[in-house]
């Protein structure tokens, strides 16, 4: 399994359930600090093929120094740069192609539901779902245009409000061309009596659509054990 060293680019800016955790605007870390972390990871990489980094903590596209961070990462020898985003910035003109050409190969988009009505209501932003879907389409188009192997994955923060939307969210990611979805289940959701039905339906929706669904935060036996396995490993870089 490919490992990615996590490097925080800031906090906030990603979709979250406003009924559980109010979303906050992105507060970026300094580019110099981020690049210093990248350098440390690149110089000490010993985790198999790589070095690989995952820029986490917030919507990477909301970081004003992102182009420089990515290009410096590639210059330092990083082979796989992974970003997490709401997806919307990828729909903006030139962003997807620019990120790709700078060296980004892995994009992870956060959705709370599989349709605009529920996703927009849960995150509290109008048109957020449509923008995310358009962004994912933009990423696929850019990948096709430049003929680079790239990866689109998804994350669904599963709380008791988003739980019922898991299967539809997985289906939305499948339609967008994602290869995998990670379900990060909160403690509250993990205690929901309907958990196994919704998570199981989400996992099965993934398999029949050829998209892997990994599950984190549930008791063993909630889903077939294979689904406890992610397609990548996020490594703590500190």
């Amino acid at each position: 399994m490919i490992g990615f060293a996590t490097i925080e680019v800031g906090r906030g800016g990603l979709p979250s359930c406003r009924l559980c955790v109010p979303s906050v605007p992105m507060a970026p870390r300094s580019s110099a600090d981020v690049v210093a972390d990248v350098r440390r990871v690149a110089e000490s990489w010993a985790a198999g093929p790589g070095p690989n980094i995952a820029l986490v903590g917030g919507d990477a596209f909301a970081h004003p120094g992102l182009p420089s961070i990515v290009s410096q990462s590639v210059a330092l020898g990083v082979e796989r740069v992974r970003l997490q985003t709401s997806g919307a910035p990828l729909a903006a003109h030139g962003n997807a192609l620019g990120a790709l050409r700078a060296g980004v190969r892995h994009v992870d988009v956060v959705l709370l539901a599989g349709d605009s009505g529920n996703h927009d209501a849960l995150c509290g932003t109008e048109q957020a779902f449509t923008a995310a879907v358009n962004g994912m389409a933009g990423w696929r188009e850019a990948s096709d245009e430049d003929r680079h192997p790239t990866v689109l994955t998804g994350t669904v923060p599963v709380c008791r409000h988003t739980l019922v939307h898991v299967p539809a969210a997985v289906a939305a990611f499948a339609r967008a061309g994602a290869i995998a979805v990670h379900l990060a289940v909160s403690a509250h959701a993990a205690a929901d009596p309907a958990l196994s039905e919704w998570i199981g339906a989400g996992a099965d929706t993934g398999v029949v659509n050829g998209i892997w669904v990994s599950v984190e935060g549930v008791r063993p036996g909630t889903v077939p054990s294979l689904h406890e396995r992610s397609v990548y490993a996020l490594l703590n870089s500190t």
């Binding site: 490919i2 892995h106 192997p149 398999v207 077939p224 294979l226 689904h227 396995r229 397609v231």
Partner: protein
């Protein structure tokens, strides 16, 4: 207007970008047979993504009396549909099949497919030529050694035909002008058979032993292909390119001048565990840009069941030796081997990715006619689709659901590996 006594159409339905070397051999041998000097041959190399009705249109436009199709597990469904359409449109044409999908189960094929007249079993060159002679002369096809055909409302098989002792007696498809060398899709065969006996594989085609074309013949083919206009890369279909150190050295000496001028060999199959720094250097002298290899599985039980050796350290050293010479390595893994658990498959994926070979390829087991797995499937509790391409449905260790989950997970893991910015010294190809 054609003056041929018999018009024969040879039809290859190939993976896109490939041409049928087997049909090239069949035609080169038949054309050189003086008994068939009044027979006209035409070859159509078409792709598996072509519509069967369109393929039939191309075939029927040739107005052949004999239609010969090469059948693998990948094109079999299309071939059977083409046979059905051609038979309906031209009832008097003889429809002949050959190839690894039909040879080992010839009688079953004829019983299941009433539009097929005969099947050529095993090594085809001499049998096919003799069958054409029989058709031309009005003799009984089922009397031709190596042929299974219809007789008296039933199906009859003539005895097997012995293997060709001297392969040089089979004319070269390239040197005879049957196949024109084309950049990237020209393949040479330097021997037949396989040194391995993997239970899932039919690459050795049951030949049982290795037979080689002479060095002079191989050298002539290399010289012809490598100096053909527009050809910058070609390859070999041999199951093991690095068959012996002596042979590899000979190939390197012969190929080195062409490699120096920029000719490349793409994707030759190798025994990676026998590659050290020296042999990797020989591969580079040959101009090898990429190699393909196992391990297919790292699971102890599956390795044992399939009669495969696997030395983890030697495998890793072989990959590293190739990479140090700038040679890309494509490692292959199979999901659904008898004896493998999901943990074994994931262990294999993790192992191969950890070597950073360049490419990791996953496929699902196909239980091929004529293989040991086909013959002992029930004993191994191996369930598979009886229709081609015979994909595994369940094993004694994994049910259908787990196999399908594993396919999705495995392919996603491989995609994550493949999506990268290659840096010099790790992902770069031979320039």
């Amino acid at each position: 207007m054609s003056t041929a006594a018999l018009k024969v159409a040879l039809i290859g339905v190939n993976s896109p970008g490939y041409r049928s070397l087997a049909l090239g051999f069949l035609r080169a041998h038949a054309q050189a047979d003086p008994r068939l000097s009044d027979v006209g041959f035409q070859t159509l190399d078409l792709d598996t993504d072509a519509d069967p009705w369109w393929i039939a249109w191309r075939v029927l436009a040739l107005d052949p009396e004999v239609v010969a199709l090469s059948v693998t597990c990948w094109n079999a469904r299309i071939v059977y549909e083409v046979a059905r359409i051609v038979r309906a449109a031209k009832p008097n044409a003889s429809i002949l099949l050959g190839g690894p999908e039909v040879g080992p189960i010839a009688e079953d094929v004829l019983r299941a497919h009433p539009n097929v007249d005969a099947v050529v079993r095993g090594e085809g060159e001499i049998t096919f030529a003799d069958l054409l002679v029989a058709l031309k002369d009005g003799a009984e096809p089922a009397d031709v050694p190596g042929v299974t055909a219809r007789r008296d409302g039933g199906v009859a098989s003539a005895p097997d035909r012995p293997l060709i002792e001297d392969l040089d007696n089979v004319p070269s498809p390239y040197l005879s002008g049957v196949l024109e060398p084309v950049d990237g899709s020209t393949y040479l065969e330097t021997y037949r058979g396989c040194p391995h006996r993997c239970a899932y594989c039919f690459e050795g085609k049951g030949y049982g032993r290795l037979r080689r074309f002479s060095e002079a013949r191989v050298a002539a083919e290399i010289d012809f292909v490598a100096t053909s206009e527009g050809v910058r890369s070609f390859s070999f279909i041999d199951p093991v390119f690095n068959l012996t150190p002596k042979r590899l050295k000979w190939l390197a000496e012969h190929l080195e001048p062409y490699a120096a001028s920029g000719i490349r060999l793409h994707t030759v199959e190798v025994d990676i565990e026998s590659i050290d720094e020296r042999s990797a250097s020989e591969l580079k002298r040959c101009g090898v840009a990429s190699v393909e290899t196992g391990p297919q599985t790292v699971g102890t039980r599956a390795l044992q069941t399939c009669h495969r050796d696997f030395d983890r350290a030697a495998f890793a050293a072989g990959v590293a030796a190739c990479r140090s010479q700038g040679i890309r390595v494509e490692t292959d893994l199979i999901i659904g081997m008898p004896g493998d658990t999901a943990a074994d498959v994931l262990s294999g994926i993790d192992f191969t990715i950890s070597l950073d070979p360049g490419t990791v390829q996953l496929s699902t087991l196909h239980v091929l006619p004529g293989t040991e797995l086909w013959n002992s499937a029930a004993e191994l509790d191996l369930r598979f689709d009886p229709e081609p391409p015979h994909e595994v449905i369940a094993t004694g260790e994994m049910d259908y659901l787990e196999l399908r989950r594993l396919e999705v997970l495995g392919n996603a893991m491989v995609s994550v590996y493949a999506a990268r910015v290659p840096h010099i010294g790790t992902g770069g190809a031979l320039a």
